[in-house]
Symmetry: C2
Subunit: 333 residues, 2 copies
């Protein structure tokens, strides 16, 4: 019985169960009572976190993430911290930035603080040149190393990820079959995950015999940069009727561009985001987005780590399937 089972039985989100456990003011009295009664009926003891703390030994997990202001990474850190705390572990986080040397230094720092394991959040930690990943392999010789949404082979390395290649392939194919025969793909960076998405897009269009040239674009900076980029693409005469992006923020830029140009969403142009972050519901029209199961991946990672600590068998790689969350920027059934 874990936090996920409680949420299903109580008919509330995991976030709500978590708020109850953390005594957050952001939950109503009624919901709190319902969740607590489900816990009682199922003999669930939430306060196991007192176990590891204050008893001499401090069970501590080190988390590395590139950038805590990225909403996907920030959510991953939140899920991991929450689940680790439920299992009696504290976590300490280092934000590394994107530079290799800084990643290596942060890893050294966390290991020096005698953490029991290391979790790397996000595929920006997987470098293209194999020797640049040596510091990760070396860390695996000291403690278990868990990767969130990235894949690297090595001893004592455990990867949980989402099949984003398949997800982007599927949604692109569906758009093509629906008649949106002129799609483009916007991505932020070609990390391991970014590469999977791009290749999923390219596979779908090549199966339809479309020329891939000028269909895949790197788009950096803030929302205004995305709008500017699409404006200049459009003004140069390029036309497209579907935009598939590698994250929701790019997609919101695409929505703003389309509205400003008077293009009708989704009849004239379909737009698909990625991550299914809460941003997807803030914009107008609300954004269809690929849910890459971040919360499940984080829960699985912590569960796997606990099994490792208990000397139980675990898999080195676990792949989750994504789910398309349909909203108003597409016209799928």
């Amino acid at each position: 019985m874990n936090i996920y089972d409680i949420s299903k039985k109580a008919g509330v989100s995991i976030a709500t169960v978590s708020r109850v456990l953390n005594d957050s003011p952001r939950v109503s009295e009624k919901t709190r009572d319902k969740v607590l009664s489900v816990m009682e009926q199922n003999s669930y003891t939430p306060n196991v976190y007192a176990r590891g703390l204050g008893l001499g030994s401090m069970n501590t997990i080190g988390i590395l993430c590139a950038d805590s202001s990225d909403i996907y990474l920030a959510n991953a850190v939140y899920y991991l911290e929450r689940d680790l705390r439920q299992h009696g572990y504290s976590s300490i986080l280092c934000c590394t930035g994107y530079e290799l040397e800084s990643k290596q230094n942060c890893m050294k720092l966390l290991l020096s603080k005698r953490t029991d394991a290391i979790i790397l959040v996000g595929s920006t930690f997987i470098e293209k040149r194999a020797e640049h990943n040596n510091y990760i392999l070396e860390a695996g010789m000291e403690v278990p190393v868990m990767l969130i949404n990235g894949y690297l082979e090595g001893s004592n390395l455990y990867c949980s990820l989402c099949d984003e290649h398949q997800a982007v392939y599927d949604v692109t194919s569906r758009l093509l079959n629906q008649g949106f025969d002129n799609p483009i793909h916007l991505y932020r960076a070609l990390s391991y995950s970014g590469l999977q998405k791009k290749e999923g897009f390219l596979q779908a269009i090549s199966e339809k015999g479309l020329n891939p040239q000028d269909r895949v674009h790197e788009c950096s900076g803030d929302m205004d940069d995305v709008i500017d980029f699409l404006d200049s693409l459009y003004d140069s005469g390029k036309r497209f009727n579907a935009i598939i992006t590698s994250n929701d923020e790019l997609a919101i830029g695409a929505i703003k561009f389309a509205r400003a140009k008077g293009l009708r969403i989704p009849e004239g142009i379909s737009i698909v985001g990625h991550n299914n972050s809460k941003l997807a519901r803030y914009c107008e029209p609300e954004l269809t987005s690929i849910d890459n199961k971040l919360e499940m991946i984080c829960i699985h990672t912590v569960t796997t780590l606990m099994r490792i600590f208990d000397n139980k068998n675990v898999a080195n790689k676990t792949m989750f399937s994504a789910e398309l969350i349909k909203r108003q920027t597409t016209s799928f059934n």
Copy 2:
């Protein structure tokens, strides 16, 4: 010469300078060149962060924050980590949740990791009962303790905050003078900061002789909960023509509510958010929001800490003024 000066001279945002320093893929070649050339002209050495790392002693600052998935707190952590790294310091973060016992345990954990200072992010750390703040005062006996947007008096405690009372008072008064004579205030929680905002609102309406009853509402949960709350308020016959909120997410819920009810924004109803997060530009219409100068507060906090380490004089309390960022949900000049 710091990162802030470089950004002004180069005519780009601090975030962009930071991306250049961190070698982020999210910046164009042209911008990168411009920023690097300004740094060169001003003899700015970005890579001071190599100073503290890898040389035996690890300069490390401990950061406590309640919830890394909160966009305001996540941004604060991002700004702090970035500036500390520029000064040669690593940071390690604990996410505490909202429970006092957990905050105390996380503080103990960070102090046990021999951090050189502690930064508390957000006013949720200031408890109403004085004895509950003792663990913060005790930490101040070991290392400098910096508070972001909260105020507590004590030895070796340094607070940087924004005058949010004044900011909410000002915007409420302006709306009243503009004829939006029936305002309500939505808040998430009555933390130190939440209380300041609420009192600013109440002062403005009482000066206009308005009855405060039924004008101030706690609103917890997700966007749908905010919409449901406003729906039921409206359906119970209550009317209002301005909604002033304690954060941007509440305000986006208010926009969704108003659109669904067919209320015209801003002619029929004005809406004001708080924090001026990037969410304010994702919604439609784009949101007028109070900028509470989080980035300046974080830069100031790190600068102050460095002065403390250098045995220079610093103030125990620094108050910044907020700025109203006008967008489409109000009709101010």
